[in-house]
């Protein structure tokens, strides 16, 4: 039996960040990971010789720059390279290209609707206003609105001040924005079907909702509030794949003296007299500490690795009711060369970016309809990238790696559980869609990793394979994430904490939950505050 100051369960980006800060503060920290490798859903793995996949998450924007800088991730090998825009291929053979250069963007939108091109300014400033409201809260612990503690009251005042500072019209808009569907929101600005479809993607990715489901406008914001090198809303590639992020974090953690154990699956958080004692592993080993932090999602944390007898029934009930639905799948493909696309010339600058093949909100809604009834979308929304156009480290020269995010894909099929035949059919659906627009694509495939929610759950440990560790809907955000009364990273047992994406501010490779949780833990231990707060200086 070994004793630590703190044990963190789950070496995803939030567990690593959390452990890194605790170790940086001087605590003796152990990070446990069930897999033989660290990274959680931010991993790079070579499953086909010579090709590296970003197996789960695939692009980076949300990673908080405060953490990137403070944990010296650059020194530990991380390089994030921004890219611009994307393409939505259309059924009629045309396409819509989304440029970051304002004038090309306007020109391309004008091709589809002159009016929409001009309306974009209003859209962009309205979305940016909401983004500016939410961003300062990412690196802050949500206030408990029922608490009269000085800190909570001050936080609430801060929040109201930010809200009030938007100006009177923005006040109206904010409430609408947070409750609207992305479809309705876009309908207020644009007339072109393909333009709406292109912008709507951010509202549904990873979410068990359709483009016309209330609450999806906020999900768009979640994909828009990140940044790359100060460019808000921009996305980038981590050189070497998303595993480069967690590798750098692991490097930081080790440099602070933290210890990582892989192949170490936590079986149970040990509790005695309302206090945590440590963690028991599946192999029978036990590690003891006064602080235990779970980076697992709320369902796994409270229903799998804690004894329900140790928990208030209310927490058990809320954990059972927590919405964490599998709605997406993933293909990772090794390619023998660069696919060509009928609609655009070779080396088109936007081929580096996100590629989509759904050109109307109606098709997106139908894709959702399939999911609702337990089927994968027959006509899915794909978010596809070929990062090897930029990254020379992930495939041999002239060869390429393709990452295909698939929305929607259910955790359980209407006819029963996933079978290997189902998985093949699911992959075929996606490959066929891409082939409609890229005639040589199929012939280039050398190897393909297919991941349904089942694989995501079994390998990564995300319940139902939900990429956000819980839906990003208003009932599960801010002081209600994961549950009312437990949004400040403290669990229902003394010494037990949560640091995963199931806590505020939610999913994506952001690392803010891990850092925020570390701030609370260090506060409880009366140690100096070393976790950076919000430092955005716009």
């Amino acid at each position: 039996m070994q004793r630590y100051d703190a044990i963190v369960i789950g070496a995803g980006h939030n567990g690593l960040t959390n452990a890194a800060y605790l170790a940086k503060s001087g605590l003796r920290v152990l990070l446990l990971e069930k897999n033989p490798y660290v990274g959680g859903a931010a991993v790079s793995r070579e499953l086909h010789p010579g090709w590296t996949y970003s197996n789960c998450s695939y692009v980076c924007s949300l990673l908080r720059p405060e953490i990137y800088r403070d944990l010296e991730l650059a020194r530990h090998g991380l390089q994030v390279i921004g890219y611009e825009g994307g393409i939505t291929f259309m059924r009629n053979g045309d396409y819509f290209g989304n440029y970051s250069d304002a004038e090309r963007h306007h020109r391309e939108m004008s091709r589809h609707s002159r009016r929409d091109a001009d309306a974009y300014e209003r859209y962009a400033s309205d979305v940016m206003r909401q983004t500016r409201l939410i961003r300062p809260f990412l690196m802050r612990t949500p206030a408990d609105p029922t608490s009269l503690k000085r800190r909570d009251v001050m936080e609430l005042i801060y929040m109201l001040r930010k809200y009030w500072g938007l100006g009177e019209h923005a006040l109206y808009d904010t409430l609408r924005f947070w409750t609207m569907s992305i479809g309705e929101f876009l309908d207020e600005y644009f007339e072109s079907a393909v333009i709406k479809a292109h912008f709507a993607g951010g509202g549904i990715i990873g979410t068990g909702l359709g483009v016309y489901s209330p609450g999806t406008a906020y999900v768009l914001l979640h994909h828009y509030m990140g940044e790359v090198d100060g460019s808000i809303g921009a996305w980038g590639f981590a050189r070497g794949g998303m595993g480069a992020i967690t590798r750098a974090m692991a490097g930081a953690l080790r440099s602070y003296g933290g210890e990582i154990r892989t192949d170490a699956e936590a079986r149970q958080i040990l509790v005695k007299n309302g206090r945590v004692q440590g963690v028991a592993l599946a192999n029978g080993d036990e590690f003891h500490a006064d602080v235990v932090v779970s980076n697992l999602d709320p369902k796994r944390t409270f229903l799998k690795i804690m004894d329900e007898k140790d928990l208030p029934p209310d927490v058990v009930r809320r954990a059972r009711n927590f919405k964490i639905r599998g709605s997406s799948g993933k293909l990772n493909i090794a390619l023998d060369g660069m696919p060509t696309f009928t609609a655009v010339p070779e080396r088109h600058p936007l081929l580096v970016a996100d590629l989509h093949f759904i050109d109307s909100l109606e098709r997106m809604e139908r894709a959702y309809d399939d999911w609702k009834y337990g089927r994968w979308s027959r006509d899915p929304y794909l978010d596809m990238l070929i990062p090897t156009q930029v990254d020379p480290t992930m495939a041999p020269p002239g060869k390429h790696m393709m990452t295909v995010f698939v929305q929607y894909c259910p955790a359980k099929l209407a006819g029963g559980d996933w079978t290997p035949a189902d998985r093949d059919a699911f992959a075929r659906t996606c490959v066929d869609q891409i082939s409609e627009y890229s005639p040589n694509f199929k012939d280039l495939i050398l190897h393909m990793e297919v991941r349904t929610p089942l694989e995501l759950e079994n390998e990564v440990g995300l319940t139902e394979g939900n990429i956000f560790q819980g839906e990003l809907t208003m009932d599960q955000l801010l002081f209600n994430r994961p549950f009312p009364g437990y949004a400040q990273y403290r669990g229902p047992v003394t010494g037990m904490y949560m640091c995963g994406s199931g806590t505020h501010p939610g999913g994506g490779v952001m690392a803010a939950p891990g850092a925020n949780a570390a701030r609370e833990i260090l506060m409880d231990l009366r140690r100096p505050p070393i976790v950076p707060g919000d430092t955005s200086d716009d």
């Binding site: 004038e103 020109r107 091109a117 500072g165 010339p345």
Partner: protein, 395 residues
């Protein structure tokens, strides 16, 4: 498959070959997605062409809308703050238009081409706003930016040059009037308008004839000091004229993200273009309320002590509080003064109440800082009689 032209970073105006041939400095900038020239040879030579002879400036990228139909006058009159109910065909009116909160979306010129035929020229693009505002009006709105070429020919000899090129009787055209002429062998619309506050014209014609017009004008202006001018020379002239520019001196309200960044016409010194006598126009209620309550900001034309342009300077009051910022600044070679346009918080700048600018400048790599007193100037810094004289003075 070759990369479609539209996917290129910058497009070329119909005059590009001529601009490129004349642009000795290779200093270009992007103007609404088109390659435009900052400076052809030297800024001061181009500037003095505007003030001493004439300068030629490519207006092709300027946003232009055609508004036609039975209700076009009523529509535009509801859109802008100025009263257009009596504007006659052949007239041009400088206007601003606001959102419902009375904040300026843009400024520009409205051409009355006929009772049911109008043109709106502006810096920014507004098709979405124009179409929303058209609900209930019998109008057709068409963006004609790339269907109509424009050249500004500005300066004392501009009238002479256009007449040499064939625009007979042009001298009789008063300011803010337009008429059809044949010039350089091309039929065109000529308006006595411009962005320099000088005698000058803007000419509008079929882009297919652009090269003929350019060549014809330069030939006609050969003995009258006509030369192509870039944006930098034009910018000095427009600041001297006291003209504000969208995206420079104010933020178009639709692009504003932060509160308190948009401005009303009153706050931009454009109160004289707000006509409350007309019953309904966009932003009327908000502007009326503002008139009663008082504005929060004021636009100032400043004569700044010393000779260092006060670009981006903070403006302080006597108590050393920051009360505003400079939005445009230049040394004025015609007024021989150091001039600036600034936006300050009220009540500052009502009269000469001791405002000063903190001006940074660099000498031999070293930054210096001066505290420069600012004198509030009423009216343009440079305002020659030839600007308004009709018939146009011959030079």
């Amino acid at each position: 498959m070759i990369m479609p032209l539209r996917d290129r970073r910058l497009l070329e105006t119909p005059l590009h070959t001529r601009l490129a041939a004349a642009c000795e400095t290779q200093q270009w900038y992007a103007w609404k997605g088109f390659a435009a020239v900052q400076c052809f040879t030297t800024v001061l030579q181009e500037y003095f062409a505007i003030r001493n002879s004439a300068g030629l400036f490519d207006l092709f990228p300027m946003t232009k809308y055609r508004i036609q139909g039975r209700d076009s006058r009523a529509y535009l009159n509801r859109l802008v703050t100025r009263d257009l109910s009596a504007l006659k065909p052949g007239r041009v009116s400088y206007c601003v238009w606001c959102n419902d909160a009375g904040q300026v979306l843009d400024d520009g010129t409205v051409f009355c081409l006929g009772e049911e035929d109008w043109r709106l020229c502006s810096q920014e693009r507004h098709l979405d706003w124009l179409l929303w505002s058209a609900q209930g009006f019998d109008v057709r709105i068409h963006e004609e930016t790339t269907e109509l070429a424009g050249l500004a020919i500005q300066g004392p000899t501009s009238c002479r040059i256009l007449r040499n090129a064939g625009a007979a009787g042009l001298e009789q055209l008063p300011p803010f009037q337009h008429a059809a002429f044949t010039c350089a062998g091309v039929s065109m619309l000529i308006s006595r308008t411009g962005f320099t506050g000088d005698l000058g014209y803007e000419i509008w014609f079929d882009p297919a004839r652009a090269l003929a017009v350019w060549d014809g004008l330069l030939e006609a202006g050969n003995n009258h000091g006509l030369r192509p001018i870039g944006s930098q020379a034009l910018d000095i002239a427009r600041i001297e004229a006291g003209f504000i520019q969208a995206g420079v001196d104010f933020m178009p309200a639709e692009q504003v993200v932060r509160p308190d960044r948009a401005r009303s016409p009153f706050e931009l010194g454009l109160g004289r273009f707000v006509d409350f006598r007309k019953p309904g126009f966009n932003g009327r209620r908000a502007l009326q309320a503002e008139q009663q309550r008082g504005s929060r900001h004021r636009l100032l034309l400043l004569d700044v002590e010393g000779s260092h342009p006060a670009r981006d300077a903070f403006i302080y009051n006597r108590a050393r509080q920051v009360v505003g910022t400079v939005t445009s600044a230049t040394w004025s070679p015609s007024a021989k003064a150091n001039i600036a346009i600034a936006s300050v918080r009220t009540p500052w700048g009502r009269d000469n109440d001791g405002l000063w600018a903190e001006v940074y400048y660099r000498r031999e790599l070293q930054w210096e800082k001066v505290r420069a007193c600012c004198r509030v100037v009423k009216g343009p810094f440079f305002d020659p009689p030839r600007k308004k004289a009709t018939p146009a003075l011959d030079f």
